[in-house]
């Protein structure tokens, strides 16, 4: 098999045995990018010389000798995470030309583990969107059908991993932005528990919901990546000082006797028939593997989208206040600072970001705060309690990741509410703060498009959901099916 098509584990074995060098592996992935990225546009920025120099440094240090977890593994980074000396635009015109001046915590971790940082992947502007169509720099295409979206907001990272343009990638997930693109592109996407991975160096969208996580080709790779990324960081006051378990060791335990909950609210009228069938077949498979399937209820599910779009936009309106033309990025001159801020932000932000800033500012404004923002925070409590209740009856919850497979480019751009509703299965977890992973669980027939199975866990329950994901993957092998590029 070509080097670019390997998983982290497969490539790592070859590197450690000395069958290939980090330089050869990196060159193979760069060649793959050169061959297919014109069609996909997963990358916004790439510096092959820099990537090869990093790989050579890893080779010089000796991969086999030092046994680093990601020694020589080429990884792509979503354009919302700071890498010292590289551009970081959040796919926004307002940050055009911005060069990061420090490494995010997760980037420090990747470097320490010996990873080769390939380049920057496309996304919805400031991570706001479900299709990557809100990028200021153009649309990324789904590797299975170029007329379709790769999901979002981490669409570039998902498309890159699914098309072997990276061995793994980092994304960020505020309402499903890792899991949904992973589902529609056909790879594994993990949103860790809030506080598990430091957000230091992640450009903030909604600070109480954002988490960084890996997009990988297998569940075992996801476990390996999480082990590198997770851990306490004093630079993020929401980082939780909880010991990091050996996620890889947990995988081999199987799922016999594990209680898997099926929330009845997630299997709704009007869901795509093939998705419903694929997820039900996956549940049957889990039962065959020894899991005990129990019906559960998450009664406030129907309110999650409304809660999310008030809380996320309110937090975003505050976080994005820093883009004002003073310290970085675009500036449109004005006669006084107020005029300069207005003109700069009006010219620099795209339509979806503007819409959300207006909604969030409104939800926080005098006279409406109690009716919108405070009420949403209270319903958020009810959604959290739903999960606490449910997890007294089960160890993991299984749902579809997305109600549909990848939709067509342009299909939902004029109807923001319809776009928001496509996140219906992923956002509750961000509100509750626990963890979730999406793994491939089949394909639609015409056209052939990936379907994702979402496995949700308790807070700091990543070992359990990765165990379920791994057991399912080993028993089915959907992840081996690759798009024809």
């Amino acid at each position: 098999m070509s080097l670019h098509a390997l998983t982290i584990h497969e490539l790592r074995d070859k590197l450690r045995r000395g069958d290939v060098s980090a330089r050869e592996a990196t060159q193979a992935v760069l060649d793959r990018i050169a061959a297919v990225d014109d069609k996909l546009k997963a990358y916004l920025w790439l510096n092959p010389d820099d990537a090869l120099a990093q790989a050579e440094a890893v080779d010089r240090a000796g991969i086999a000798k030092n046994g680093k977890l990601l020694g020589g593994i080429p990884v792509a980074i979503k354009d919302v995470i700071n890498v010292d000396g590289q551009p970081c635009t959040c796919a926004s015109k307002i940050l055009k030309g911005y060069i990061s001046v420090y490494d995010a915590f997760v980037i420090k971790r990747l470097r320490e583990a010996g990873a080769v940082l390939l380049g920057r992947t496309n996304m919805d502007e400031f991570a706001m969107g479900s299709s990557t169509e809100n990028s200021s720099w153009g649309v990324t295409r789904n590797p299975w059908d170029f007329d379709r979206i790769p999901g979002g907001s981490s669409g570039g990272s998902a498309a890159a991993v699914a098309s072997d343009e990276a061995i793994a990638a980092l994304g960020s997930d505020t309402g499903g932005s890792i899991r949904q693109p992973a589902a529609v592109c056909g790879c594994v996407g993990l949103k860790p528990t809030y506080g598990r991975v430091s957000r230091y160096g992640l450009v903030a969208f909604a600070s109480s919901l954002d988490q960084i996580g890996p997009l990988t080709k297998t569940a075992a790779d996801s476990a390996l990546m999480l082990g590198v990324l997770a851990g306490h960081d004093a630079s993020d006051s929401t980082s939780v000082p909880q010991p990091v378990p050996d996620y890889t060791a947990a995988l081999g335990q199987g799922i016999k006797g594990l209680r898997v909950g099926l929330p009845k609210e997630y299997f709704i009228e009007g869901m795509d028939r093939e998705i419903d069938a694929a997820v039900r077949a996956a549940v049957k498979k889990l039962a065959e593997l020894g899991a005990e399937v129990v019906e559960i209820s998450l009664p406030h599910t129907q309110y999650a989208v409304a809660v999310y779009y008030l809380i996320a936009t309110a937090e975003a309106s505050a976080n994005l206040a820093r883009f004002d033309g003073v310290r970085y990025g675009l500036r449109i001159p004005g006669k006084d600072p107020i005029e300069m801020y207005g003109k700069t932000r009006g010219a620099g932000f795209g339509p979806e970001v503007k819409r959300r800033i207006i909604l969030g500012t409104y939800a926080l404004s005098a006279g409406y705060y109690d009716a919108y923002y405070l009420r949403a925070q209270k319903v958020r409590t009810l959604i959290r309690r739903d999960f606490e209740q449910a997890f007294t009856k089960c160890d993991a919850i299984v749902t579809p990741t997305s109600p549909t497979a990848a939709f067509k480019v342009g299909e939902k751009t004029d109807d923001p509410l319809q776009m928001y509703l496509s996140d219906i299965f992923t956002i509750s977890v961000n509100l509750a703060g626990n963890c979730g992973v999406s793994v491939p669980c089949g394909f639609t027939t015409k056209p052939k498009l990936p379907i994702g199975l979402q496995i949700l866990g308790k807070a700091f329950g990543e070992e359990t959901i990765l165990r379920v994901a791994h057991a399912y993957e080993q028993a089915t092998g959907w992840h081996k099916d690759k798009p024809n590029l």
Binding site: G195, S207, R327, D336, G342, G346, K354, I358, P416, L417
Partner: protein
């Protein structure tokens, strides 16, 4: 539900919008606000709000001097700077 005054909210957000943008956002937000009104179905009078999902409170650290990013590198990203300062339009008459 009261009509949202988009011009006023845009001013609060320091966000200049064209007349067309205001019209479009106004119509779209009307849809979104009538959708989120479904939260009014619930009685939340006895529910505490959740601001964030972490179990942590009062995270403190020592107030110590630590190395920071070199000033020159930060200023390189600024639209306008001089003498180690960000330059902005005149604020006080």
């Amino acid at each position: 539900m009261p009509e949202m005054d988009v011009s006023y909210v845009a001013y609060l957000a320091r966000l200049e919008l064209s007349a067309t943008e205001k019209q479009k956002i106004s119509a779209q937000l009307k849809d979104i606000l009538s959708y989120v009104a479904k939260l009014n179905e619930l009685d939340v009078s006895k529910v505490e709000p959740t601001a964030h999902a972490t179990p942590l409170t009062n995270v403190l650290r020592k107030d110590e001097v630590r190395p920071s990013v070199e000033r020159g590198r930060i200023l390189k990203n600024a639209p306008d700077n001089a003498r180690d300062l960000f330059i902005v339009p005149k604020i006080v008459e």
